[in-house]
Amino acid sequence: MSTGLFVVQVLNGLQFGVLLFLIAAGLTLVFGVMDFINLAHGVQYMLGAYLAVAFYALTGNFLITLFLALAAALLFGLLLEFVVFRHLYDRDHLEQVIATFGIIIFLNQAVKTVWGAAPLTLPIPEIFTGSIVLMPGLLYPVWRLVIIASGLAVGVLLNMLVSRTRVGMLVRAGATNARIVSALGVDIRRLFMIVFGFGTMLAAFAGAMIAPILSVEPGMGDTVLILAFVVIVIGGIGSMRGAFLAALLIGLVDTLGRSFAIDILRLVMPPSPARTVGPAIASMLIYLLMALVLYFRPAGLFPARGR
């Protein structure tokens, strides 16, 4: 494996990790503050991508598209919260899983009905097309760098929000003990709604940003959802810092594992079984990591709840 390829894969891993962070951030907040398992978070990411495609067809401008898609996703998220989710906060985790599973089934089919089952594409905004030269003979697409940068920016912003503002303080307090916060006179329902809307928007943002380099199709949220859960569980539920670090870790481990598993295995076994076993190990790697983390730290790396 050459250094060039390695650098490219590290960047790809970072880009993937940042994407996972955008999704996991909302999930971990909703989970941490409201103790609510929202499986439908993945379809909100998918919806972000679809909305971006739809608004781009209308406006032809990526920035306006992004803005409209986020607004629409936020409205839809709040509508879902109002109609369904708010009635589930006091319920058993099992019931939350089923109800949000029902919403996944519905929305996956709904986008298929509205936009068709065929994958859609979104062009990369013109100023960010093309590649830049990382080192002689090594090109890297600008858009992926934009994703990494915007994701890191969101990470910094979120960290500021959570650690410096009043809402952030309430969120942190809510993740530690929501009932005490409520008893201290904070309108916890309103806090829930703010957190939920914010999480929805982050997921939609991730969907809209990744749409230009991924095919937009029904079910695209399902795999990402599971990975986002892996991230928040490894990071510790409710912990923003944990989600950030775990997302980058998972992004890197998964991407590098997929690229180099066969090469590494070839060092210890003949090429033909390595080619068979390699991909399997690569796709299992993050789950293996999660099992290991939970074995030694049953509440994740950075547990937020003070229990």
């Binding site: 009635h87 599973f101 796709s283 099992a291």
Partner: protein, 330 residues
């Protein structure tokens, strides 16, 4: 929170007479299906109800750990898949005898449950849900990488399992009764376990693990035994599934499948064993009926799930008990 909910529907103190007979009625109806099927599209009905019973076995196993043990597993489809692959892989090597295939299916899924249970049961609540999901995904990817056995495409089971060389499952009707027998045995087994001393400790650990531990029981070991039993029975369901569909694929282990099993349990009414049969039947029949009405059936099915959660607490059985209780009083 996870504790309070299941308790309400487990072992109701006073059962109405009809509802007490419900398990017997269910098995009677299932036994009569092939007789009634003669008057309709026979092979279709037999196939459908065979599938119902196969999934009912898996759902019942899940209900056992979930409803009685408080252990919500989101990776239970992995055990079903392991049982199915036991049939598929042995079959591709020409070993179709049930004595071998069934034993391997039970044994391998039990071992998988023992190993993963040792890790999973260290965690609690949501973390347990997620780590079982992780192991389910691992099993899914391993199955997808079995290139000699079809990889992602899966493999066909050429011949249903035989018994000492005698292909008695070839007839759909015999196979149906074999599945029914398996379901019945699974039901009796779980029932016996739930009411045994072991079952009392197992149930107690759901309600208050600290108290059970204080009484001198090793909660972890009890839960692990329960987890292994549930895994092995799900493996049995997989063994039957492979024989029913004559096909095995990694899709059997996907997390959506595990989710469906949870839905079945919740549909029927968690913590009641025979509720799992009702749940599996309701789930698959609703799917079948809606699928017959429109291609977009998922647009109806998704909201239906939400409605069931919001308004029918305790599932169909809970609903029946509520109605039955009202009739009793009035």
């Amino acid at each position: 929170m996870a504790q309070t909910f299941a308790a309400s529907s487990t072992l109701p103190a006073r059962q109405t007479k009809v509802l007490g007979l419900l398990p017997a009625i269910i098995f009677l109806v299932l036994a009569l299906v092939p007789v009634a099927a003669v008057f309709g599209p026979e092979s279709y009905l037999l196939g459908l109800f065979t599938r119902v019973m196969v999934f009912a076995i898996a759902a019942m196993a899940l209900d056992f750990i979930c409803g009685y043990g408080g252990l919500v597993s989101f990776g239970h489809a992995a055990f079903v898949g392991i049982g199915a692959y036991a049939v598929g892989i042995l079959g591709s090597h020409g070993i179709t005898d049930m004595l071998v295939a069934l034993l391997v299916a039970l044994l391998v899924s039990a071992i998988f449950a023992y190993l993963t249970g040792t890790v999973c049961l260290r965690t609690k609540g949501v973390y347990f849900i997620m780590i079982t999901l992780a192991f389910g995904q691992m099993a899914y990817f391993i199955a997808g990488s079995l290139a000699p056995y079809g990889g992602d495409d899966g493999l066909t089971v050429r011949l249903r399992s035989t018994f000492l060389g005698f292909p008695f499952l070839q007839s759909d009707r015999t196979f149906y009764y074999f599945v029914l027998l398996s379901l019945f045995v699974a039901y009796l087994l779980f029932r016996a376990i739930v009411y045994s001393r072991f079952g009392r400790v197992f149930r107690g650990a759901r309600e208050n693990p600290t108290r059970i531990a204080t009484l001198g029981f090793d909660v972890f070991r009890f839960q692990r035994v329960g987890y292994v039993i549930a895994g092995a029975i799900a493996g049995l369901s997989g063994f039957l599934l492979a024989n029913a569909t004559e096909f095995v694929s990694p899709a059997y282990m996907s997390w959506q499948r595990s989710g469906e099993l949870i839905i079945m349990v919740l549909f029927g009414g968690i913590g009641s064993l025979h509720g799992a049969i009702i749940g599996a039947a309701a789930y698959l029949l609703v799917e079948e009926v809606l699928g017959g009405i429109t291609e977009q059936w998922k647009l109806i099915f998704g909201p239906l799930l939400v409605l069931v959660v919001l308004f029918a607490r305790g599932g169909l059985l809970g609903l029946a008990h509520a109605i039955g209780g009202r009739l009793d009083r009035g």
